[in-house]
Symmetry: D3
Subunit: 329 residues, 6 copies
């Protein structure tokens, strides 16, 4: 017998006790399910994201329904835009008959109490492959903001519940808030990509939407992975500008940032479990090196533990199905 | 022109400015390089960890030398023990002529100012595949501690600079400290696996050492991934018991825990970038879905940002070589 | 239209939205139900605590059953001891045939998966009306501890799941832990009254057990209401001595202390909603000045919000019944 | 002798030592004394608040004088407005010859260095019994703000030192600040009801002013008792909008919120010890279940300890008298 | 042998180990070098600041060059203005042919990648010896701001990289930011004197520039040394108004404020090691009571440890020379 | 008029308002007055500490009386020991007829309710000029502790109220606590020099006691000025070992450490305003470069603001006299 007073293993001694002291659980209501959509009437597989597809609008509705049935009721739409509609100013972004407005109307009509979020950013519409209007190799901040405001208002008019600016232009949250309010949309929420890092984990997403930067990189607007304090600057600004929720992207490599935002701001925090993270799990599991269900459910639990109230994940439907089968993890 | 005062992009406008405000850097001196060793006189590849091998002692020395030349001067040894030497009590763990004591003496003789760490745990020596002595399906806490004390003293006698108990038995840090001190080894440091989680990311490591649990799981001693506050209980106890450094394992899925430990304790914090994390990157890069160098260097930067002073990574030598070629990231 | 960006009322606009952003809920599993017991075979009303009674053992079992059926499964026992059994040393406290051991055995036999907590303190057994052995008007610390250790071991032998020292003698948690462990009760938990204040809110409880101090006050051992930092000293010591849960008493007037303990320690935090708080609500509601159900459920919610994982309240059964009727608050 | 090192009872051993380590004291200068006023020339008792009365203006001056003489020099006025003056827009609120402006001029003339605070809110003037203008059952935010601005300016012109908006409309602090400044009142301070909860503890106050909500409840503007983080959102906004002091209401059930605001903002924090809290103490003391002086002075000490720099309490005069008699508590 | 587990001396046992655990280092790139300039063509010694001189523009350039060669590349200019150019409105402050614009152009021409900061304040130009325009003995806040805006724009036009308002008028950071932006200088940074205290340590600086207050003191705008929370109010406002870096002044007597700002804001923090601090070291060393190099290098290390990213010090060149000679401290 | 909402200057507008918002005050009861004593029957001036003297015991009593009369009632004694009494083991430190025990008895007899603290350390008694017993150039930790225990017990027997170990040997607080308790001195307090830095600011003190290190430096036991986290390790250990108060030394260059200790531990924090700090002020004031009263009172205020509850300063008597003359600062 080794004298000692505290024995933390006392709280792990069996499954019941571990259940009693569990600090966090994951439920389907924590998820936002990202859906890729395109103008075709068939689905297209995305090789670097096995199990994900670009959906036709019809199939998108079916996918929404399946997710809805297992408790995932929040969605975010990412369109693949034909090259011929892309311009430097990305005007297609606020075409009221564009693919996103149509998709919005379809989902809200079929599932009125779903929550549909829409991406506010120019890159799917840009012939430069950047998140902003380009001039002499520079990404123009304030010109871009004006485009984003038009895009957000267009989405609000088509029924978007939450607009989600993903571009990291300075001041775009406040400008979008003003634009929405002046059109009477004071009830539309803003989910801001507050701390979006210039990361190597985005590759497969860009494959999915064919949206790789046309030149250079995104380091003049996205954050440096080496920086944590900088995310708190962004968070304070977004809160002051009227953001309702703050997002960190990517997710797992930035769990500490999620924790810091959760501690530093009273707003809800979201995390984006990005394409590269998804691709890594898929690749390792295909080879039999990891167990997919175990790794995925642990990983999503880690997001909650880090402080994420909301998780955007390509595994949303699958994880909800596993929860339905197996009970809460 | 959109009126706004703070413009965080001002600090990202070009590479020079980004350099000025970078909050963290990674250097080879942050790394601990884990080395698998076995009794054979040849190396054996580990399929689920491409690029890693179980080394013969001779090759181990060569690997140490290569890492040393690019600035990685700290190592930790993990032995594969032949099945015939495994017992429930794991007595081979404190055989002064065992593979670890011999390896220690070799490295310290050849590289006297290297720092060699040794794993204190029974699982490589256990015929039960558990981190403790087993009785009626239970992992005995205090009996195990007594074995660990003998193992730690044996390693100290063979020249270990840092003993690293990885087992999560309650009270083992204090007991090992007392055992070391009573033998005069007050200068040998303890790197405690403070927050070691019951994770799905360990599979490939267990492949490497052929040390899968013989029955059940490790949830009665390793932490539940859902728990963050619990890690602070462990940290407070380890500090009080005399640990010199605290480790979190796995790494990336637990970056928030690294941050919380760094904030809650004044001790240095280490992170273990585990086999499953390594395997995922390798698998995705083999398929061409991610860029290995970019993803690895970003990931190691994320560990530093989260608060890790020390990173155990299978990429230690490779990352140091990239740093040598490209300059600091 | 008044230009402004953040509008917190957006999150309060209707019941659904308020439900989505609610930060805390109260459930019956958060409660510990205190039960007064005596040696009589009838119940006795307690005038200053309308609705509370000293129970005969038979009625105690019935009360346990009723609470159990609405989800309250944790109890704590407070005995009224006949004057003739009271002594300065309080030896009756560890009489294995005393009222508490008998009550324990009854409850655990009838409701084996209930959790029964027992009060470790001398005051119900003291002819001095103090929490410690008295000598020359002083409350002797270390002599008292020895008595408490005997009491705790006696309770553990009778089936206590959790011993709860309520006396504020220095060092009693560690001594009780050692005593329990040396008798093999490493699995019995300790709920420490960590921050027990010298409060004017205890009067009715002392009426209930006829345990008013025989002389002087309790200020040489209970905390000064003016002090908050001091509670953190006590919390650190209790954690180091092996407490599993930390309690603050009284509750509502010390909600800030609950918050500080929750932030400063990773252990679970309990709060005692004391007799004086209960009496105030009862008195005001009798007069029709407050609505009892509304005030009680709000108050219990406040405990959760402040950080209490566990609430000891005389309203436990009643609140659980309200929850059953009305759904979660 | 039980070996142990820290002994916190060392600091409690006698009254002198307890005095040395006391962390907080309460003084009359911490109090704001709320005064109910009406147009009658006699006082009217308020049954649910024994000891409190609606004062005639003449008696109000006398009450101010008595409080002033024991060191309470700050007051806040709450008028009972005759029903025939109540409207949906509450125009009486900015009648320069209304009861509040007249009361202000009386007090400031007689006690020029007193500090007189005035309530900025529509509910005493509303025929709807709400804090805002009502339209189709909704409480209109921005229309209400415009009325509040007129009310605040009217009060400033009559000599108010501190205007105290108590209504929880979004953005009213900033709008009032702008209105005051544009009229040259940059030196008039704002004490914002930052975290005002939808509480069951307000009943007796509404009795006092006959201001119960005409329909529904106040949950679309007052905060949910379950929420703590939400108070930090309000605090950040009020600070940015120019509030000089932040108030939490009610007091005792929200002591943790006081602590969190004190830690999260550098502004002074005030607490409102509300009518329901007052009524509970009175009711329990009338029955002889609690000792009034002990309970009141402990409770006020708890407010200071929680972090309140300023306490609004109906006990202000009485507590100051007790302090004068007995010395500081 | 005294049993004990943690032994912090383990980390101090020799110089190598101390090097490993050192938490902070000082490098020349942390320094900003303040330079006094005047219109004469010779240098003038400043008696109360031995080793410092008011430089002619020619010698200033030489001094810049010497500092630059040891790694100090950032400077801040303080002009002595002839009495005949001083007015209440300080119009000379924005004379494009004034001494500061000329000095700026000289340095930027000779050392284009140096960073030159300029003081934004009226006191060197004021015939009242105050930091603001005076009217009836009052320092006018908003009138002063307008002058500061003109001064900042004038400096930006002459090449200033960083404007540094040192006056503590409310709202001047935001107004300067707006003025700079509206002239197209969105890339010019603002280093705000966020927490400038009304200190007795400024005497020798005022000797250097002959800028003692003409009447009264500066307590209506500079902070009270007794206040720490107040600095956080200023920091939050400056951040919201667009400051890029926050300064604390003086330095050593306010190291705790540096720490609090570093913890409370994500912006970089600067510290001003002021003239009085410099004079004290010089005086004590002249007498042989302290060792200058040891005391200075320790003191600068203390600034870094407290959280200063940037140190304004008259020892900048000297310290950089010592670092060059002796290696990093 | 420049639109802005918060105006911090509102709280500085005149002396009354500044008084209302002042966060800290300094009173004589915050001071501990250090007294140098020697065996001579006359006083000897200390050149590097103008105004300080080594006192004869008779004059010491007179000095105590003068300080006592202005409210300074706490003292700490530092003896100059004749060289012929110095040894490596420093046995004179526990001579019951040594100078410190005699001085203690004199003061406690004349001023029974003063608090007299005594330095526990070997350096004044060591012929090596070190704080510990020396062997082969090493400072022996545990051998030294045994000597310190004897010294502390000897002082307690002579009436010391507070023993103050100043040596930084590991584990000496706990060992002294055990030694005192086992002799029945559970009521004697320990003021630990928790964070004593290897500083260049100690020179004049060593002049005063003729106690310069005989060889080398003190870096193997005193802390590195570059380290802040390390102080928190020491603080946690001292608290666990039973220290009642924690001291930081030196004072002004370590104000951030005072803040961090105050935030990280609930114990009272003391600061030592050391000889070098004193000498600097004296030297600069002699030259007329600073105003002594202003600089000293500001500096002491800074200690309080940083978090020091207790200040050891050679200015104790002088500052108390200034406070008596001028009122509180
Ligand atoms: Zn942003
Ligand atoms: Zn552990
Ligand atoms: Zn205790
Ligand atoms: Zn608000
Ligand atoms: Zn300011
Ligand atoms: Zn120590």
């Amino acid at each position: 017998w080794v004298p000692q007073r505290a024995r933390p293993r006392r709280n792990r001694k069996n499954a019941t006790m571990r259940g009693m002291v569990r600090e966090n659980i994951v439920t389907p209501s924590n998820f936002i399910y990202p859906l890729f959509i395109h103008e075709e009437d068939y689905n297209t597989a995305i090789p670097s994201m096995p199990g994900c597809e670009r959906h036709s609008l019809e199939n998108m509705l079916k996918e929404v329904g399946e997710a809805y049935n297992v408790g995932v009721k929040t969605f975010v739409l990412f369109p693949k835009v034909p090259d011929e509609l892309k311009t430097n100013l990305g005007q297609e972004a606020y075409n009221p008959e564009g693919i996103v407005p149509r998709a919005l109307r379809l989902i809200k009509a079929a599932y009125p109490d779903s929550i549909v979020c829409t991406d506010v950013a120019l890159d799917p519409y840009s012939d430069q492959g950047h998140d902003g209007v380009v001039e002499n190799g520079k990404i123009l901040n304030d010109v871009t903001i004006n485009q984003l405001c038009k895009q957000a208002v267009c989405q609000a008019k088509s029924g978007s519940d939450v607009v989600a600016p993903s571009d990291m232009m300075d001041g775009r949250v406040g400008a979008i808030r003003d634009a929405l309010d002046s059109e009477g949309f004071t009830d539309v929420s803003i989910l801001s990509y507050t701390a979006k890092y210039a990361s190597a984990y985005y590759g497969p997403f860009r494959d999915a939407l064919d949206s790789h930067p046309g030149f250079g990189d995104k380091k003049t607007y996205q954050q440096d992975p080496a920086n944590g304090r900088e995310a708190l600057i962004e968070a304070a600004l977004d809160a002051a500008e009227g953001a309702d929720m703050l997002m960190v992207k990517p997710g797992m490599p930035y769990l500490d940032i999620i924790r810091r935002l959760k501690d530093a701001t009273p707003l809800p925090v979201a995390a984006y479990h990005v394409s590269g993270e998804y691709a890594m799990i898929k690749a390792a599991c295909e080879k039999g090196w990891l167990n997919e269900k175990d790794v995925v459910m642990e990983t999503l639990t880690c997001f909650k533990r880090a402080g994420a109230d909301i998780i955007l994940t390509y595994y949303a439907k699958q994880a909800a199905q596993w929860i339905e089968q197996d009970g809460l993890y």
